[in-house]
């Protein structure tokens, strides 16, 4: 039963083919058996899971599609009473007193928390290698990375260690690992899901979304977690439609744009797979047109200047005083700050703080931060123009398949380049979906990225579902 999609699992629970307790136990066994190899989980909440499953069974109706469904949360999503570490030393023992909105909504729907999933430290990274608790390995090849920063959520979904997982995506952190692990990953429009209780990376970029086994599953989860919240003033009052209504199979009348810039510097096997995927969309009735987004080549520097700047201010709250790790080697206040942060942060977090502080400092603010904020405005316009002509864009998610552990760790610019095709959606606040679209000759997964304009998640579900129904890629499972 652990290989079932969310829709199938929900049906099974409703028809009493299995109980939530049996299901939850099966997933806990699977985690116990496979996680030594993968390191997808940093905390397993066995008792809490079995208690929630028992409660769902006792109630017995499974009216909500998420009732009794075992899942996990990336470990930067606050869970009251359960350790939330951001996979860092500075928050190694942090137990938040409150729930993130996204978890409160899931819990209220009856979801069963299996545990907290691994991530790059404070979500800063593209490989999960910066986690204080060690790298998450790719289920398709354990010598390679699962991607990041939501490597734990993606690897756990691919390896059937949960029905679905919740990750966060600032510049690709859901879509890229979903692509590298062969699952479905949804980045929502900025503001679609409230950020309250999710440990901040870059506040004008961060989004929260599901990693799932099918496109339908992603729509089912979004139905529960989307919508404005009083706790987050950046959630607009946009209506939340029933996203499962947009899961149609034909693509007649749908216009798909193919941005040529998204194929520059992309590995040939990846480009071939995506071109083949675009042919499939054509066969389904979509009208495919070439489009151009020339500012795409400036996306990476624009992204890291803005994100690292926002992050450097967000990280100021970790001061060794209010919460988290503090040094035991300080005589005065300044030393507490300097040493607690030196001891508590990993390499990429320090690099982030340094770049951000530099870009925001007097004398460099105009040349770096402000310049990037202007390019961001231009990029937003460029995408708005293109979405006047097409309903969605189709492109690769990642320029390459899963890379070897350690390969890019000493070269930050090479690591940042892994996000080349995913950062534009972060910069412009757009929704994006990665769906399984093939494998390279080494048997490593390739993902196709579908992008839409703000709050048009429905278009992603429509095109993604039609593509999935016409292909078999999502059915292939890694051998563990």
């Amino acid at each position: 039963m652990i290989d079932l999609s969310l829709a199938e699992t929900h049906k099974g629970l409703k028809e009493k083919k299995f109980s939530s307790t049996e299901l939850t136990q099966a997933y806990l066994d699977r985690i116990e058996k496979t996680d030594d190899k993968l390191n997808a989980y940093v905390t397993v909440t066995k008792e809490i899971a079995l208690e929630a499953a028992g409660k769902a069974d006792k109630e017995g109706k499974f009216k909500n599609p998420l009732a009794g469904i075992p899942m996990n949360l990336k470990d930067i999503i606050c869970t009251a009473g359960i350790k939330t570490t951001a996979c860092s030393k500075i928050l190694e023992n942090y137990i938040p007193p409150y729930d993130a909105d996204v978890w409160a909504r899931l819990k209220n729907a009856g979801a069963v928390l299996l545990g907290k999933a691994n991530t790059d430290q404070f979500a800063m990274g593209s490989s999960s290698e910066t986690s204080y608790f060690g790298v998450t390995k790719n289920p398709w090849d354990p010598e390679r990375v699962a991607g990041g920063s939501s490597g734990g959520p993606a690897a756990s979904v691919a390896a059937d260690q949960c029905v679905f997982a919740i990750g966060t995506d600032t510049g690709g952190s859901i879509r890229q690992p979903a692509s590298l692990c062969s699952c479905v990953g949804l980045k929502v429009s900025y503001g679609r899901v409230p950020r309250y209780g999710v440990i901040s990376y870059a506040s004008s970029f961060d989004t929260i979304g599901p990693v799932t086994k099918t496109v339908e599953d992603a729509a089912m989860v979004l139905n529960v977690i989307a919508g404005r919240s009083d706790n987050d003033s950046t959630t607009p009052d946009e209506p939340v439609p029933d996203y499962t209504k947009s899961l149609k199979t034909g693509l007649k009348g749908v216009k798909v744009g193919v941005p040529k810039e998204y194929f520059e510097g992309v590995e040939k096997e990846t480009a071939d797979a995506i071109n083949q995927g675009i042919e499939t969309l054509k066969k389904l009735g979509a009208k495919v047109v070439d489009v151009s987004l020339p500012l795409t080549r400036y996306a990476i520097p624009t992204y890291y200047l803005l994100v690292k700047s926002e992050a450097s201010t967000n990280m100021a709250r970790y001061d060794g005083i209010k919460y988290g790790h503090t040094t035991d080697d300080a005589k005065e206040l300044l030393e507490i700050y300097m040493k607690s942060r030196a001891e508590g942060f990993g390499d990429e977090v320090k690099r982030t703080i340094m770049i951000g502080t530099y870009a925001l400092s007097a004398g460099y603010y105009d040349a770096f931060y402000l310049k990037a904020a202007k390019v961001r405005a231009l990029m937003k316009q460029e995408y708005e123009e293109v979405f006047k002509k097409v309903d969605v864009l189709a492109a690769p998610t990642s320029p390459f398949t899963a890379f070897r552990i350690g390969e890019k760790m000493d070269d930050p610019l090479a690591m940042y380049a892994a996000d080349t095709l995913t950062v534009p959606a972060g910069i412009c606040g757009l929704p994006g979906l990665s769906v399984p679209a093939g494998f390279d000759k080494n048997g490593l997964p390739i993902g196709m990225q579908i992008l839409a304009s703000q709050y048009k998640e429905e278009n992603l579900f429509h095109v993604g579902h039609a593509f999935e129904q016409a292909t078999e890629w999502h059915k292939k499972k890694p051998e563990l």
Partner: protein
Amino acid sequence: MKLSHDEVKHIAKLARLGLTDEEVEKFSTQLSDILSHAKMLEEVGTENVEPIAQITGLKNITFDDSKKDCAFTDELLKQSPQSVQDHMIKVKNVF
């Protein structure tokens, strides 16, 4: 562009971040590379472009400016690794 060790140390001080000598050396190279790469943005014409700091287009989201009780004040205070007295965190001397 190349960042000197002194510049790296200055930025680290502004950021309240202690660095070892090895880290100063490493960041001086890496930050120089990253900021040099970022210079490519100079190719983009941005005259008369208004910068944006958010992406929703929302304006002036306000709430009542009134006192509200926090449900978990004590639990938040318990998070502090420093000593707490009378609902206040006691910190070390500034000098």
